[in-house]
């Protein structure tokens, strides 16, 4: 297969905060500035803008261009929630390949905290607002509790096996100054935490927070020397399987074979996996649908692996959303940011040694019962 010359040339992340403070545009601008610095670019080098932020409406990508004071030949406002940032980056890459732009700034984030999260989720979309909110559904915690229950009853997965994801990622978060939860956490801490929505306990649920991420998509040779990241393949699939409330599969099941075939690699060749982690069960489901193990084999896989940055499967090597916090729609970009940081060998104390390639999977946009969107990319150090 021919490798595209278009990839990721810079990435930026703002400090995270538990309190919604400042302004959304301020956070997006801060992430953008950091990404441009990382790319060695100036504002005038950008001719495309894509944005993912739940709280941006009634603004959009074009009005954000006005706020930023830049003229762009490509503008895109995301869909697909936590899958949106990966999908947005893939769309930016195609726009550049088509000649519509040369360098696209992709930004994502929200001014989120627990209160803002509940207010948003009650009105997230028409189906949830009309048919789940009147039942006191508990927001995503209630919905993913149903998915988790189903996973446990269908496959025999235990709380302790799910906990290995949260505990492993926390070990990585200890080495990430931007993680809001970076104190040590043992399996006992995880299992003894208070019940939120049975079987989900406190450390199964992400902490809504404020922050933003950005990446710059352009020809990889525009990156500072040794800092370009190639996109070997990418795919997205939304609302699969259709018509289900709490399915144990996502769209990745449909594109998995194509994703790996085009990349020329398989799951075993990945030196890390940045997998959207709003809840551990969704990491397990994505790993299965992306081909890390066979149907229903999550219990053995989770029991067998250590998910810390230096473990047998380096997973969400900055601590993931479960330890860093979920910056609203920025939660869909934290994995991309961490992957690029790792591939640029800029991850400091949590740097995966000699890393050359890895996987990023985005997932989200909760509809009537579950996240509908899935988008994944295989990345390689250029």
């Amino acid at each position: 297969m021919t490798k595209s010359d278009i990839g990721i040339v810079g990435c930026g992340q703002t400090p995270y905060s538990k309190r919604a403070q400042g302004t959304l545009v301020g956070y997006l601008a801060d992430a953008a500035r950091r990404a441009l610095d990382s790319a060695g670019m100036a504002r005038g080098d950008i001719d495309g803008l894509a944005v993912a932020a739940f709280q941006l409406p009634p603004d959009n990508a074009v009005t954000l261009a006005e706020q930023f004071g830049i003229t762009v030949s490509y503008a895109d406002y995301f869909t697909a929630g936590g899958a949106g940032s990966v999908a947005m980056m893939l769309a930016a890459k195609r726009a550049i390949e088509d000649g519509q732009a040369k360098a696209v700034l992709c930004v994502a984030g929200d001014l989120y905290d627990v209160g803002a999260h509940y207010r948003l989720m009650g009105n997230f979309n028409q189906a949830l607002s009309n048919y789940a909110q009147p039942h006191g559904f508990g927001g995503p915690n209630g919905l993913f509790a149903l998915v988790t229950r189903k996973h446990m009853e269908a496959y025999g997965t235990t709380c302790e096996q799910f906990g290995r994801i949260s505990v492993g990622q926390r070990a990585s978060a200890a080495l990430n100054d931007n993680a809001l939860l970076r104190g040590p956490m043992t399996m006992d801490d995880y299992l003894n935490a208070r019940m939120i929505a049975d079987p989900l306990r406190l450390f199964d649920c992400v902490l809504p927070c404020t922050g933003a991420e950005a990446v710059v998509v352009a020809a990889v040779d525009r990156a500072p020397k040794g800092k370009g990241v190639r996109v070997l393949s990418g795919a997205e699939q939304h609302n699969h399987p259709p018509g289900e409330v709490a399915p144990l599969h996502i769209g990745a099941a449909l594109y998995r074979d194509r994703l790996w075939a085009r990349a020329g690699y398989g799951p075993k060749d990945m030196q890390f996996a940045q997998i959207y982690d709003d809840y551990p069960v969704m990491v397990a489901i994505q790993l299965e649908d992306l081909g890390y193990f066979g149907a229903g084999e999550a219990p053995g896989f989770l029991a067998r692996h250590d998910f810390a940055w230096n473990g047998s499967l380096p997973l969400n090597t900055g601590g993931g959303q479960l330890s860093c916090g979920q910056t609203g729609a920025g939660g869909g970009m934290i994995g991309l940011w961490e992957a690029v940081t790792q591939l640029r060998h800029e991850a400091g104390a949590r740097q995966v040694p000699k890393v050359e390639r890895g996987l990023v999977a985005g997932y989200g946009m909760v509809g009537y019962g579950h996240g509908l969107g899935s988008a994944s990319v295989v990345l390689e150090r250029a």
Binding site: Y131, P134, F137, E153, A197, L200, G369
Partner: protein, 140 residues
């Protein structure tokens, strides 16, 4: 037995529109109304202007039996809206209705925390039904 009948909590309400009006009107009388497709024959929830299985517009409302089974359940200790706080834990379920439709709903009643997957459920009868904004169930 199900709380203060005279002063039900101010639950968030579904927004009535041209598509879901029969569901909401039916439930005011304690009936569970579903749509069935005139072309593919399948019943579904939530209300839509076209059949999600085949895009047919030949849809007819009918009164469902109100019986079904629990597919999955959770005890939600932290509801997302204050109207539900006094009733925590909310027993949120995915229900498979006899007619084949899947529904997110909840089980109420003193014994609600006995809910388990595959248990039979039935609609809350009138007059208690009027307390809830949408079709709500008890253990059968």
């Amino acid at each position: 037995m199900m709380g203060d009948m005279a002063n039900p909590p101010t639950y968030p309400q579904p927004r009535e529109d041209a598509t879901n009006a029969p569901l909401i009107a039916g439930w005011r009388e304690g009936r569970l109304m579903l749509q069935r497709c005139g072309d593919c024959g399948r019943a579904f929830f939530y209300p839509r202007p076209m059949c999600p299985h085949c895009w047919s517009e030949k849809l007819a409302w009918f009164e469902a039996s109100g019986r079904g089974r629990i597919v999955a359940y959770s005890h939600v200790f932290k509801p997302h809206h204050p109207a539900f706080d006094a009733e925590a834990p909310i027993v949120l379920i995915e229900a498979a209705l006899e007619e084949g439709a899947l529904m997110l709903t909840r089980v109420v009643g003193e014994d609600r925390t006995n809910a388990r997957s595959r248990m039979a459920i039935s609609l809350v009868p009138m007059p208690e039904a009027a307390r809830y904004p949408l079709p709500t169930f008890v253990l059968a």
